[in-house]
Symmetry: C5
Subunit: 357 residues, 5 copies
């Protein structure tokens, strides 16, 4: 069984004033890059290396998506924060990569942070890699922050290129929804993955239950605990978004966020079913082991019951008393065999009657 | 134990824009057919192959039921959606056959989707087949979407033919209620079925508990998990319908939807009792196995306890020491037998006292 | 263990239009009889065979109690329904004897349905017989519907005869309360009964745990599940009555219905404690069995440990090697005995130290 | 394990009209006595045998505390009820000593009833004796009803004598609070007591787990169930008092009742922790027993494994075949010993490697 | 396993009037000292031994932090209480060191009390030391009460010295938030500590499960119960603070208290995961022990099954019948060996087939 960190530390922040713009997470050395896509229904601009100094040239009539790859450079995040007038606590939440998924509503922007989960399998060890992705939604800008390059957003990028797609005629709120939706959709994939693993183990246990299967069940249990830790607060965050009365989310698009919530409920439903199946499997494993043990003991008992009396009998006639009339009798030996056979047959009949055979 | 998919994938949708009218489900090749029944208190029109081009000829003074058999042809569903001005997310929900049961209220229509469950038994394998059925209720039209032909609606069809039935004098909301009620009623049948299965297993276990019974208990447990997955969100959907303030459901008929909710509570109550019984059965099975094991071990212990000392004694007089006075004594052999009998009797008395016999 | 129906079917209703006045339940052949008691503070009229045709002669200044024995005759129930203008869904609820306990409030009447439970004991099999009792409360009439003659209402009948009792000066709402209160009071009796059974089993288990005790525990568990199924929805129904704003229940008498709710809470409290005790008993049984098993195994182990080495030793000197100096030694035999005694003593001391003896 | 009544009967009330002033409880023969303390900030009057006929002479400018010892004399309770215009249901609640703790608010008085618990230990049997104490709070009178003389109120009596204490300058509501607070404080003592018992058992189990410890754990579990039965409804009653809008509790003193609720939460918190510890202890006991069993079985297995092959070998050379060359060989005997030693050594090494030794 | 007090007594308070300023806790003999830090954005005053007589000289334009080290001297706490007009119940809560964490809002001040936890490890015994810390927040003063010198507030002290820090420009509410935040942050450290312990035990169990590991799991379980007892009410207290409408917390700073709540949710989340892991570990331990036991029994069974028949055979030819033709046959001995070998081989093959080897 692999040894994993189920709970990540946050202690390194201790002692810092709240709202400190200090990156807390694994060491990152890559340079932060900013991708920018600006569009309206007629025009689209793609830029791979957007410079922060161009922030004030963003056209108010277009929707802008700024995708920040890397959040370990304080000055980048802080510059953006200053330009868009972001609260220092939001900045802290973005940079503290152990943040619980949540949504926060401010007067002029909405903040949403959740986890992108990547499952990797190394031999029989399953690993969930999680990366924090934060979103800031303002009137016409969506800013996404991710810890490192590489994401699940390619389908949105593709749709944005196509002028006929609905996304091109909708505002920043719809863009934010599309991005969050992709991440939540990926949760369903993960659940499906664990479901497949669970089914495979079940089939193997029904053949021959082995210690490694118990470990695999345990492993999946741990991963499901981890998944749940990320997913349940995400559901709450989506629900909070829906209850919000911010006019950054247009009345028209509220249906889409409703849809997000539906998906989150489906994710949690299925996660709970998986946990049920997993717990069940463990019980099944243990009862199969116990049944096997029972059979082993029954076998030993039956064998012993048959031979113990016989061994006693042959012991009797192995005694060296001078005065043992049976020993000198001509029929002593065959009669002894006969008696022993009779005892054996009666024994077996008795076991049959007792339903032990 | 049969191997089933407890959680169905939805991953194939991943990457599609939300609200895409794309069928997600098993391959379906049959042609979509549309059944139409229009009625008012005096007149009724049945049409097996209604054409979408006739949609605009539907008479505003009648109630119309359009029953769509097959939802895998995008253009059919989309045409209907366009004609009735259905939101693209609703279209997506109709065509994604892994949709969680839910109800959704729009300005000019109410959307309701749930599962029709069909239980089939193949040898000892129980299978729950589930098909998604969606309803759209507008002012005077009910549209039902099902994945394939064949449904549980025949009793409604029959009632509609009879001019004296209440349904003929009620509006589209009462028709929608009648259709949903039939499906929910069928859940009670399923629960009754599992109840009968559970009782049968119980009786068998009380006779002789066998491994296959444990598997059957396990199987039913899985099916109950699946049932619950479909039924609990349905209850929520009905509750949401009741809280709705849409005037598509007339004040007069709200009592009927209240009745639907009562039925859902009864379904969930009984499902929970079944789950309790199922869990109980498993425990009973395991404790019966454990009791049997105890008896086996007790038997072995008693037998061993009686023969082990005797075997020792006969071993002693099987030794070949030259100087063993007992061996040459005339009464040595009978006395030995006497001692052994005495030990046996004392042993048995002791076991009796200890309550092991 | 008795085989019981824990979940009763309702399938026979399937396919009927909602609100059908069709009796669903066990076959009943007795004739429906109607008992009528009319009273005010000064006068009381008892009639055993009230005729429905006299309904319109009921005096508006008196309180009338119509007690319907038998609900399997559709026309009787329907006539009453028509006269008092009862909703068809209420009629259905009255006649469907598998109805979940509930209360329903209409403009001109309140509907309340619950279960009267009768416990019978056949040998060691405990049986809960349940009969549905429904009440309709209008301005000055209480109608009670029961499946068959015989009920728990005699104390109310007696009190009604006595002009000095409070019930004579109160209205129909107080009469309804008194009747429901009697049924709920009888629940406490049932719980007390199961409590006594539970205590008896506990005492027996502490003496000698036997398989039949486990079955009895199981049986009580099933009965408690059944009780709970009836009682929890009854509590909800009472709570709903209290939240109602119908003026059929006078402000003055609301305290009495409050009292009903207190009783329901007490019933559910005690039921939950009983379930706790029952679950506990099962665990106790299993741990006592397991302790007994442990003792059996310890005994076997100690006995084996003592005799196995001794048997080996006597086996050694039973060998027939020609060259075994011990055999011919004069002290061989007594020394062997000495060694065997020594081993036995050491063994016993060791077990004592290990706390196994 | 002691046999106790976990659920007390209430059946004796069955059939009585609701609100009947009839004492339901254990037989009480002592005479009801009434203690009266009247005070204001300057004056205090103590009277041990207050007469009901003096009720109308109670001075409106003082706070009066009437402590009724004994509630089995109907006329005493009824006279008080009549004088203070108490609702008949309240009278019933006072006299039915199996009443669930609750608070009830009427226009001109507040009713509060709870349990005073007294723990007695008879040998190893712990017993919770519970007595019902009810309070009625009117504008300037507090009436307390207890089943028998002797209570926990002495500290309040003492404080009342001291003119400098805050209680002397506060009204009847503060007096009621002080009395209830004393009872709730005594709950904490009981919990502490069970905590001490639990710790003692834990220490004993860690030494040598015995059957009587399991019984003691079971006993405490039952007592905790009983405690919880009384305490949880008390918490609800206090909460209800706080939500009340009666002006019998002055705005100024609401903080004190808030404090009561804090105490109740603390009591329930600690009770739940105790239940946790108790359940834990049971599991610990069972796993220690199971570990001991494992060791016993391992010991038996190792001993058997060593001697079974040796016994076989000596058996071989105990055979009486004429043609057994080993027997006549000079080195046969010592070689056999050598082989047996070798087998033993290898066996032990193998066990060591397997980590069984 | 260490013996700890899981529930601390509060009985010593019993009988005291509510709101008594009497210290309840461990014996403390050190002198109470008062530290005072006063600051505004331009100036800061530190004083180690502030005198209560100087209270009235506190400048209204500065923020004052009074840190009281020691709460066992009644007069100190009471003087402060009098000066700031603190309710006597608050005084009681400060001095009763077994107070449940809570927040209380008064007209002119807010009261907050929680626990500072210090984990010490003595050999393998883990100990949680908890000290009560209370805060009083008024318009421009924060008073913190701690049982003894030494706290976690040093980082706040440092930040206060630095004129450029945000804390210097914020009011008393922000100071209170900063202090509480530090304590809550320290909870995450404790959870991380237990997480590390849990991981270490897991690794050890996977190697060789031993009794001491079960004790360690048990120990951690107890500590987690203790942690939860302190942390859950703290979460409630923070939530209550957020719902408060006191204007002592400025609208501007409410976001920071929101952040506190986020942290509390994270703490409780992780605590619950730890409890899950801990429970899991126990189950894993027990199933590994059970698997080991199974292997031991299988080994014994196989060994016995092989040797029991062989021992019987050699017993047969150890019998002393005169008429045993096999004994005198030349091939008797080798054939016997052959038969025994054959039986052994068949036995082993059969076990292989049965999957026991």
């Amino acid at each position: 069984m692999a040894k994993k960190k189920h709970i990540k530390p946050r202690a390194s922040k201790k002692g810092l004033p709240p709202g400190s713009a200090i990156y807390i997470g694994e060491d990152r050395t890559h340079t932060t890059s900013i991708e920018r896509i600006s569009y309206n229904s007629s025009e689209i601009i793609n830029e791979q290396n957007f410079k922060l100094s161009d922030l004030n040239q963003l056209d108010g009539s277009m929707v802008h998506w700024l995708n920040i790859n890397g959040i370990h450079e304080n000055d980048v995040v802080e510059s953006i924060g200053n330009y868009f007038n972001i609260h220092s606590l939001t900045i802290e939440d973005i940079m503290n990569t152990f943040q619980r998924p949540k949504s926060d509503e401010f007067e002029h922007y909405i903040f949403f942070t959740l986890r992108m989960l990547v499952i990797t399998k190394d031999g029989i060890d399953i690993n969930i890699d999680d990366e924090q992705i934060s979103f800031i939604l303002t009137e016409n800008v969506v800013i996404s922050f991710q810890e490192k390059p590489g994401d699940v957003f390619d389908t949105v990028r593709d749709r944005l290129q196509d002028q006929t797609k609905r996304i091109r005629s909708k505002g920043a709120d719809y863009l934010a929804f599309s991005l969050i939706d992709l991440i939540i959709d990926s949760y369903l994939e993960h659940i499906e993955y664990f479901n497949k693993e669970t089914e495979e183990i079940e089939n193997k246990i029904l053949d021959t239950p082995k210690q490694i299967h118990l470990n695999a069940i345990q492993d999946i249990k741990y991963e499901l605990i981890t998944l749940r830790k990320h997913i349940v607060p995400t559901r709450e965050a989506v629900a909070r978004l829906l209850r919000s009365e911010s006019n950054l989310i247009k009345r028209d698009n509220i249906k889409y966020f409703n849809d997000l919530q539906d998906h989150m409920y489906q994710v949690v439903d299925q996660l709970d079913i998986l946990r049920d199946l997993n717990a069940n499997q463990r019980e099944m494993y243990l009862s199969m082991i116990s049944l096997k043990m029972n059979k082993v003991m029954e076998f030993l008992t039956i064998l012993s019951s048959i031979f113990i009396p016989l061994t006693f009998i042959v012991g009797v006639y192995g005694m060296n008393f001078v005065n043992m009339p049976e020993l000198t009798s001509k029929w002593g030996y065959p009669i002894t065999w006969g008696v022993m056979l009779l005892i054996t047959v009666l024994n077996i009949l008795w076991f049959k009657k007792k339903n032990w055979l």
